[in-house]
Amino acid sequence: MGYYYMPGDYRIIHHPIIDFRRGRRIRFYYNDRVVEAYEGESILAALYAIGYRVFSYSPDGRRPRGAFCMIGKCSSCLSIVDGVPNTRICITPVREGARVYSQKGIPEIPHKLRVEPVETKTIKTDVLVIGGGPAGLQAALTLADEGFDVVLVDDHPRLGGQLVKQTHRFFGARRFYGGVRGFRIAEKLSKNVLERDNIHVYTQALAYGFFKEGVVGVAVRGGKPLNLIVKPKAVIGSTGACERTILFENNDLPGVMGAGGAQTLMNEYGVRPGDRAFIVGSGNVGLIVAYQLLQAGVRVLGMAEILPHIGGWFVHAAKIRRLGVKIYTKHTVTRAIGRDRVEKAVISMIDEKYQPIPGSEKVFDIDLLLLAVGLQPNYSLFSQAGTVMKYVPEIGGLVPIRTYYMETSVKNLYIAGDASGIEEATTAFIEGEIAALTIALKLGDDRSGVEKRRDQLVDYLWREYRMSPVVERARRGKLKVTVSEEDMEKIRRGELDGF
C-alpha cells in the first residue's frame, strides 16, 4: 500500500469558457493504492485524471475495457465499490476512504455474514418525473408553478442531464433559453427545482420498473439507500438517450469512447480525455465535440464521415474547419490498434455500398477515438410499461406513439425530450412543458388558462419551431409517431391499422 503516481495529470486548469471550481481534496483507495481526488468528481473521472485508462475486462477476462458512455448506461466501467460488485464508477461520486477494486469479468457474489434489507418507503404524489434533463426539469418546474406535488428522480448524482456538458450557447427562442450556454441553463433550472418545496428530488435514483396503476419502483442510491415505491397520478418519462456504437475491429479498446463520454470528462469534470483525437461522425455532436476538444487542449487529427457530405449544421462545421480540422467524407473507421489502449486508428474510403475500399487506408496516431455516430432514445421504461412503439430512423430509433400532448398509449404515462425521439434541447423544454400543462389540466387545474397556454405551445412547436428547414428530418420523424387523441383511443383498443 502507499502512494502510487500515474504518469501525467489530465485535470484541466485553464479553460476558455468553464471555470472548474474543484471541491475539497479527499483520498480513496483503488486496488489498495491511495488516490487523491476532489469531492464532486466521479470515481472514474478521478482515476482518468491521473492516467488510468483500463477500468474493467470482458467476462472472459481477455479484452480490456475503458471509459465509454460516462453516464451509467454501458458496462465498461463496472467495478467493486465498498464490497458491491458491478458498480458503475462513472456515476458513483468519490468518497473519503472508499475502497474501489477493478473487476475482471463476472465478479463473485459478495460473501457477507449478514445482508440487511434496504428500507422500502411508499410515497404518493401528483406527478413523478423520471429524468432530470431539460425536459424533466422544465416539466417539474411547470407543474410546481401550478401548485402540484412532484417527485423528480435521476440516476446521475446531479441534475441537468446532458445540459451539464454543453458549453456552447443554445439557439432558439429566448423563452427557451436561446443564447445561454447549456451548463448555465442546467445550473439555473436545477437551482430553481431544488428551491421548490413541492418538488422532491432524488438523485442517484434508478427507476427500475413501471407497474400496475402507474406505480413506479425506484432504487435510491445517493445517501441512505431506499426502495422508493412512488404512487403518482401521472408519470412523465424524460429518460433521454444514449449514444450509438458501430462495428469495426477492436471497437471495444480503451480510448474508443462515445463523443458524449468525452464531453462528460472534459466539460463536467474538467478532465482532458486524451492528447490526440480522431472523431467518427460529422453530425452536430461530432462537430461540437471537435471544437470543445480543441478548447480543452486536445489535438484533433481529423474526422471521418461516411456520407458524401457533412452531417451537422454549417455554422458548426465552418468553425472547426477554420481551426484546421480536416473532415474526410466518404470515409469510415475500420480498425483500432493498440494493446491496452488505442494507439492508432485506421480509416478507409468507402464505395457506393458503404464497403471499405482496399488500399485506401489512412492511419492516425491517436490516444482517443470518439464515436459520434448518433443517439438513440432510452426506450426501456416505455417498452417495459407496454406502450405501443415504432422504429423511426429519423429520430434515432424505437419510440412510443404519443398524442400531440405527449401522452403514450399507456394512460397517464407521458414522454418528453430525447426519449421521445432525438431533437435539440429546445424541443425537450417545449415537450416537457406541454406534458406538464396537459397533466395540470387533467388533474383539474385551469386557474391560469392552462389549456390556452398548452395549445399555444403545441402550435408554436409544430407550426413555427419545427418548420425550420434545419429540423425538417426530425419533424418528419415525429409526425410518424404523433397522433390525435381520438386515434390514440383507437390504438388503445387495437382498432387502428398499422399500430
Binding site: 448506461k73 434489507p117 434496504v118 427500475y208 475491429e249 471497437n251
Partner: protein, 93 residues
C-alpha cells in the same frame, strides 16, 4: 476486418463472428439469439447491441429490420442489488 475482433455486445463479450455463426446454426431471430448467446442480457440490457444485432440479422436473413427489432424489457429494467427487495436480513451459514 476480423469479425472475431469486432465486438457487438460488450457486456457479454459477443463478437460479430459469434453472431454470424449462430445465425448459420439456425438462430434467426432476436429472441433466440438472446437465449443462445446471452446477447442483450447483460448490465446494459441490450441498449447498445440489440439494434446492431437486428441489422446483422436483417442483412443475413433478408427479413425487414422493423420485423426483427422489437426489444422487450422486463422489470427491473436496470440492475438493482437484491438487498433492495429483501423483506428480512439474510444471514449466511
Amino acid at each position: 476486418m476480423d469479425p472475431r475482433k469486432i465486438i457487438v455486445c460488450r457486456c457479454e463479450n459477443v463478437s460479430l463472428a459469434d453472431i454470424l455463426e449462430a445465425i448459420d446454426k439456425g438462430y434467426r431471430d432476436l429472441e433466440s439469439l438472446k437465449r443462445y448467446l446471452r446477447i442483450g442480457m447483460g448490465p446494459c440490457q441490450g441498449r447498445y447491441c440489440l439494434v446492431l444485432t437486428a441489422r446483422i440479422l436483417a442483412r443475413k436473413t433478408g427479413k425487414s429490420f422493423e420485423e426483427i427489432y422489437m426489444p422487450r424489457n422486463r422489470p427491473p429494467i436496470v440492475p438493482v442489488e437484491a438487498r433492495y427487495f429483501l423483506k428480512q436480513p439474510v444471514v449466511e451459514g
